[in-house]
Symmetry: C2
DNA sequence: CCGTAGTGGAACATGAGTGTTCCGTAGTCG
DNA sequence: CGACTACGGAACACTCATGTTCCACTACGG
């Protein structure tokens, strides 16, 4: 039998439905953070009852969404291999990988959604964040990044640039164009 | 007699109460865009009934808040004298002036709030926005700004940097520190 | 002193989102 | 074929923000 709460086992159907809800929630809540569970259910093409079967309360869904986003961000950071090569090149790789997160970028930037899971477990020192901090510190040590900009600031700037670039790609721009602007701006911003 | 809706005349008390509600709403909604009118009333130190006396519906308050924000932004842009002096210096002056908007910065960055007044009257070409666009075009013409970054992008980057800087000053940093980081980053980002 | 403007508070009606229960149904697998 | 799983939909109770009405209180000016 499949335990739903822990999402441990692999009953094919259950996990697939779960993913559909999670993905739909990410898409819907990215556009409107105040969207109702009925909206999410409709977007996921499931009944509202089913949503409650997987996530008893709204906050449960939001937490799961946060955990999922964190997981994706961590995976993207891993793919970027932030420990290897020149710091600037690594930062650009990371930027490219994170840009692929898409809707998740909007979620991370919504205070009301972040508030739902911030006090839970991880404060803010996720593995992804720490890898980024380490990268910036390495960049500082090697003289590749502006020493006047502390790691925290660079991290915030990176995320905000990703956010506006993603908004832009939504507004009609090519993803490539938006990413180019983002990378170009970031490159110059962190240069010494 | 004082006409409330048009906010035209100057019955001392009325306008003062109106301002109190507007300021309280800006502060409260900046922290939590989903705050109730009761929260706003409490923050403004008035009864919930009084809020409805000045703004019949929630959307009316939101619209007034948008108009107020626009007014402040326009005034700040005017003080920055964006037409005078070197483009980069003008952009920095503008950045400094806009940073003083404080809570308003958070409002502008909230999609749900912006949605309440975007389809009303002004699409997005406010005088403040147009002045910024003109400034960037002048910077491009004089070779002071990176020609690879179009005015729209620079505008978005400016606002997002202001936003994160404001968040930072809220999180404990000195306003001066936050503004310095913002200016330093912006300066390098727009440089050719 | 009386009328008026501005206000606060209680009370009420309404609507929307939430969370729950129950039941019928469509697959699936032994 | 039965048992089981997953699902959808209807119905319900509950909470909360909203918007409205009504009344009492206070300050202030003619």
């Amino acid at each position: 039998m499949n335990t739903v709460a822990g999402r441990t086992t692999g009953g094919g159907t259950r996990n697939r439905t779960r993913r559909a809800i999670l993905d739909a929630a990410a898409a819907v809540l990215a556009k409107n953070p105040a969207a109702s569970l009925a909206d999410v259910a409709a977007a996921a093409d499931v009944g509202r009852t089913t949503v409650h079967r997987y996530f008893a309360e709204r906050s449960d869904l939001l937490r799961a969404l946060g955990a999922d986003a964190l997981e994706k961000a961590t995976a993207a950071t891993g793919r970027a291999r932030t420990e290897e090569g020149a710091p600037l090149a690594a930062l650009e790789r990371l930027c490219q990988e994170l840009f692929e997160l898409g809707d998740v970028l909007s979620l991370v930037f919504d205070e009301t959604l972040v508030a739902a899971w911030s006090w839970e477990g991880w404060e803010q020192d996720t593995e992804a964040d720490r890898a980024l901090i380490r990268l910036v510190e390495r960049g500082h040590a090697e003289g590749a990044f502006d020493p006047g900009l502390d790691p925290d600031w660079i991290s915030q700037v990176l995320w905000s640039l990703l956010y506006v670039a993603w908004q832009r790609s939504r507004a009609g721009d090519t993803k490539h164009e938006a990413l180019s602007l983002c990378l170009r701006t970031l490159r110059k911003a962190v240069a010494p």
